[in-house]
């Protein structure tokens, strides 16, 4: 039965999981906001980050303080390349592309996911890679809950990064530019904002954040070619719940999903825990496409 202590433990664990989800989902929401596409290769950025961190830290012996940013940069660079080479046709000539746009985006990102997973599977190998720990403490007491030290350390870094991102989007010129392009691409470019640069920026940022999530979690979930599939599906659910393209919505939905899953696994059904979020996703797209908070108009 659910005791107070268990409930507190579940809540803290759920919130921490939610933070990690946030790192993934915010990038996906940014991409959707600016480019109006779902990046079906988002999980593979996570995977790339996990490998980058593990290889740089464990094999090359780079200190952790540098290994984490390296993973971020690796993901960001990959994101930039992908945007430059594959996403340009999405808005290069808006008029004539029109019809095939959505199909193109799904096909290309879907195939990119297939490509990266299988490439890593062949080039590095299908088995999981053990990553070096972030800190040496194995157990930490957080308020009422006992948690793995890895998780706590990762959560602290995540919090700091999320705060930075929020600050950046809110106050910097480029942050404003991102928001402007999300609201009206044409209008923003008429106002002198370089929408193309914003797209590159957003894709790099999203790739970097997902890679960082992969790096931070790799001591807990070891890097393997398909390690990104699971967090990717979570972030699809979150982005839909938060209202496609809304950043604050995505963040709140991340925390909510973390908590709901943490309780649902104990209270409802452990076996089917992975289906809850997916059912929510379908119900939301059908009945409340603007998400929990309804910031945007209907897109469907």
């Amino acid at each position: 039965m659910l005791t107070g202590a268990l409930a507190a433990d579940l809540a803290v664990n759920g919130l921490v999981t939610g933070l990690f989800y946030g790192l993934m989902a915010i990038g996906l929401a940014l991409i959707f906001g600016v480019l109006r596409i779902v990046n079906f290769a988002h999980g593979e950025f996570y995977m790339v980050g996990a490998y980058a961190y593990t290889i740089v830290a464990a094999r090359l012996g780079v200190p952790l303080v540098l290994a984490l940013p390296t993973a971020f940069l690796f993901g960001a660079a990959l994101g930039w390349v992908v945007e430059r080479t594959l996403m340009r046709p999405l808005y290069a000539n808006i008029g004539s592309w029109g019809l095939m746009r959505d199909e193109y985006a799904v096909i290309v990102t879907f195939a990119l996911s297939l490509l990266l997973v299988n490439f890593v599977d062949k080039a590095i190998g299908p088995y999981a890679f053990r990553a070096p720990a972030l800190i040496s403490a194995s157990r930490v007491v957080v308020g009422p809950a006992l948690m793995s030290g890895q998780k706590v350390a990762a959560a602290l870094v995540t919090l700091a990064v999320l705060a930075l991102i929020a600050f950046f989007l809110r106050f910097s010129y480029w942050g404003r530019a991102v928001r402007a392009v999300s609201q009206n691409r044409l209008g923003a470019s008429l106002a002198g904002i370089d929408a193309t640069a914003v797209s590159s920026l957003v894709f790099s940022l999203a790739g970097g954040l997902a890679a960082l999530a992969g790096a931070l979690l790799s001591p807990i979930i070891n890097a393997s070619p398909d390690v990104g599939a699971f967090p990717a599906i979570k972030s699809y659910v979150i982005v839909v719940l938060g209202g496609m393209g809304s950043i604050p919505g995505a963040f709140i939905a991340s925390l909510l999903l973390g908590i709901v899953e943490s309780f649902g696994a104990v209270l409802v059904s452990y076996q089917y825990r992975d289906t809850f979020g997916l059912i929510l996703l379908i119900l939301f797209l059908l009945f409340r496409p603007q998400g929990l908070f309804g910031e945007r108009g209907r897109e469907v």
Partner: protein, 316 residues
């Protein structure tokens, strides 16, 4: 050139291809390669059925593999629990997939683009998770065994080719009728189609149901061939293969998915001996085709064959 003429030409080309492939057992009776062709035919049916939805109606579903899995379980469960003969199992598998497709198609009617992709992807994952976690009924990931229908590979080869021919002819008849016009109109502009009096709900749902039934049919047939049904049939990667085959072959043409399925699957079996990089190569090819030759191989062939007549036009 009229759409009619284009479609007829694609049908004749498909028929020629199938006749050519049907002659393979005269050349070799190698069990392994006949098996490869059987699986290719399975994928050709899946890709053709998905193409009806994605290429002709503009509904980009990510659930074709899930419907094949549903069809396979429909056959396997009815065989395991009610001991039905294969032909009945086949009908049940097809019917169940078609019915679920009908309901899902009606539900997702209004969704487009990324929204539809996400919804169908979630549906596919839910279906797979249910199959893999309902251990008391489906034996989970262990899979459900089935009595094989035939034991001779050559017979299986012709069964699958018969099934593929049946599906292709069915699609041809459907697309040649006014249904083909309506589906393409819906793909191009739903509002304009409605203005012209096309019954959007009916045709979109029908396309979803027919496509799902065909995928279920392929899955059920495959269940008897493999004599084992596992949730793996419904993996998203399987859908990835179906999409890859269709895009490489040529989306929105009758022949494209068939060419794509045989080319991709046979080559990938062949490449398996040289290090197994086949999936990397195909994924890269898909990206390249989507980026540069959106009409696929068939589009390239038609452009190459008629450069002058179509100089002003876009390839088929």
């Amino acid at each position: 050139m009229s759409g009619d003429v284009r479609l007829r030409r694609e049908f004749i080309a498909t028929a020629l291809l199938l006749v050519l492939l049907a002659l393979v057992p005269l050349v070799t009776r190698d069990v392994y390669w006949l098996g490869v062709l059987v699986v290719s035919a399975y994928f050709a049916i899946l890709a053709s059925s998905w193409n009806l939805l994605a290429g002709f109606t503009g509904q980009f579903s990510l659930a074709p593999a899930a419907f094949a899995m549903i069809g396979a379980y429909g056959a396997a469960l009815s065989a395991a629990y009610y001991n039905v003969p294969p032909i009945v199992g086949l009908i049940i598998g097809t019917g169940v997939a078609g019915l679920i497709g009908l309901v899902l198609g009606r539900i997702v009617m209004r969704l487009r683009g990324p929204y539809l992709a996400l919804t169908t992807l979630s549906f596919a994952e839910i279906a797979r998770l249910v199959a893999s976690n309902s251990i008391n009924i489906t034996r989970g990931d262990l899979g459900l065994p089935l009595e094989p229908w035939f034991n001779d590979r050559v017979i299986w080869f012709y069964v699958f080719f018969g099934a593929l021919t049946f599906v292709i002819c069915g699609l041809y008849l459907l697309l040649r009728s006014k249904a083909g016009l309506f589906l393409e109109a819906i793909r191009d502009d739903e509002i304009a189609a409605a203005r012209s009096g096309v019954r959007i709900v009916f045709w979109k749902t029908a396309a979803f149901a027919i496509s799902s039934a065909a995928a279920g049919f392929a899955g059920a047939l495959y269940a008897y061939f493999a004599s084992l049904v596992t949730p793996e049939l419904g993996l998203v990667q399987q859908t990835g293969l179906v999409v890859s085959m269709t895009v490489i072959g040529g989306m929105g043409s009758l022949i494209g998915p068939v060419v794509g399925a045989f080319l991709v699957y046979v080559t990938s079996e062949w490449l398996r001996d040289v290090g197994g990089w086949q999936l990397v190569i195909f994924a890269a090819l898909v990206i390249m085709f989507a980026r540069l030759f959106r009409t696929g191989l068939w589009g390239l062939v038609t452009t190459a064959l008629a450069p002058r007549r179509r100089a002003a036009g876009r390839p088929a």
